[in-house]
């Protein structure tokens, strides 16, 4: 189709008007919908995610709950008054409970009285995923032991399978027991198991886990074990570390620096 001079000027004018109005109109309309969120461009990618916890640093402030509060807020973790209904993602255990095989009456005082952060160990050989009858939990290729709450039927085999007590069951509707609802993350329903997800939703946005970011003492170090230059590999090279219940063969990937 030939474009004559007159038609060319018409089109140019129309285009200029269109561009100008598209700049002006959005500001004019107050009720304009903000539109869809942009997809995250730079996720954190790793081959074997793991965490190291500096027990000494964490111990300094016994009452500090920054990481726990950050996790609970990020993931809509409910708080029940009755301990039987408790739902936990990350919490503190006395040293002799968390690291029994490192505990003795002669253990250094600073450790014996320490409270140790515990959560899902994201095992390399996770027993919980093997007993799940619906494949609602599985180990991802980057090491995160993931849950699909859509598929969980609440049989609690995984709760029994986990030797660390890292999985909680929702005996009651958790929604009324969430202190501050975070719309960015779903809640769970009654009859579903939940646990730490290594902040996979944050990794997808290129952010470190919420607990790691929240810790003022920098006691939590998150990183890729397959990357020899990562901070976690550096700290594991330099300092002695222990893991929970290694004799069970679950290959936990949370390292405690003593």
């Amino acid at each position: 189709m030939a474009v004559n001079r007159r038609r060319f000027f018409q089109l140019t004018g129309a285009t200029a008007l269109g561009v100008a109005s598209s700049q002006v109109l959005p500001a004019a309309s107050e009720e304009r919908s903000p539109g869809p969120a942009r997809p995250a461009d730079k996720p954190l990618v790793g081959q074997r995610w793991a965490m190291a916890i500096d027990v000494g640093k964490c111990r300094e402030e016994e009452d500090c709950r920054d990481c726990i509060a950050a996790c609970d807020k990020a993931h809509n973790v409910p708080h029940f008054d009755n301990k039987k209904d408790e739902v936990k993602w990350i919490w503190k255990e006395p040293f002799e409970e968390a690291l029994q095989n490192q505990s003795s009456q002669f253990q250094a005082e600073r450790l014996r009285h320490a409270h140790v952060l515990v959560f899902c160990n994201h095992c390399d050989n996770p027993p919980c995923t093997k007993v799940c009858p619906t494949q609602a939990t599985w180990k991802r290729d980057d090491g995160v032991v993931m849950m699909d709450w859509h598929r969980c039927i609440g049989c609690r085999y995984c709760v029994a399978g986990c030797p660390y007590g890292s999985r909680s069951f929702n005996w009651r509707d958790p929604r009324p027991h969430i202190d501050e609802l975070n719309p960015e993350f779903p809640t769970r329903t009654r009859g579903v198991v939940e646990k730490c997800n290594f902040c996979e939703e944050r990794l997808a946005r290129g952010e470190q886990p919420a607990c790691v970011v929240a810790c003022k003492e920098k006691a939590l170090i998150f990183g890729d074990l397959e990357d020899p230059e990562s901070e976690i590999r550096k700290v594991l090279r330099e300092r002695p570390s222990v893991r929970r219940k290694v004799a069970l063969g679950t290959q936990p990937q949370i390292f405690y620096l003593l």
Binding site: L25, P26, S29, E31, R32, S33, P34, G35, P36, A37, R38, P39, A40, P43, N76, R140, M146, D148, W149, H150, R175, L181, N182, P183, E184, F185, P186, T187, R188, T189, E200, A204
Partner: protein, 127 residues
């Protein structure tokens, strides 16, 4: 037939009475009312055309769900190359501001109860 004079008008009366709600709706124009979802201000395009979304949005959401949770494939690329975050709350409700006037209006009309919102949270308040 004995008493035809009573039975036939009686039957006719019964039929009119039984179908009265239908005639009422036809007469008042309510019968043909179909819920219309609120269109987002200032947004012209959805992730797919309206006919597809009307018919298949539930299937699309199920696919998004599985791909995000199980395969970590979080970016949806439309046929014409636009990129979206596969997210009910951030993408769908990013444009459709009101859950009540978008999701619920049709679902209530059709009396379907999808369980999305038993866990997912309406970003603009309300459980």
């Amino acid at each position: 037939m004995h008493d035809a004079g009573k039975i036939i008008p009686g039957l006719a009366f019964f039929l009119v009475l039984a179908t009265a709600p239908i005639w009422y709706n036809v007469a008042s124009g309510h019968g043909a009312v179909v819920p219309e979802i609120e269109k987002p201000e200032g947004q012209t395009q959805c992730v797919a055309d309206a006919a597809f979304m009307r018919r298949e949005h539930m299937q699309l959401l199920l696919e998004w769900r599985d791909e995000v949770v199980r395969d970590r494939a979080r970016v949806y690329v439309t046929a014409d190359g636009r990129r979206y975050d596969k997210s009910l709350t951030r993408t769908c409700l990013g444009c459709h501001q009101s859950k009540a006037n978008s999701c619920d209006r049709c679902h209530n009309y059709l009396d379907v109860q999808p369980y999305c919102w038993e866990c997912h949270v309406d970003p603009r308040g309300g459980l």
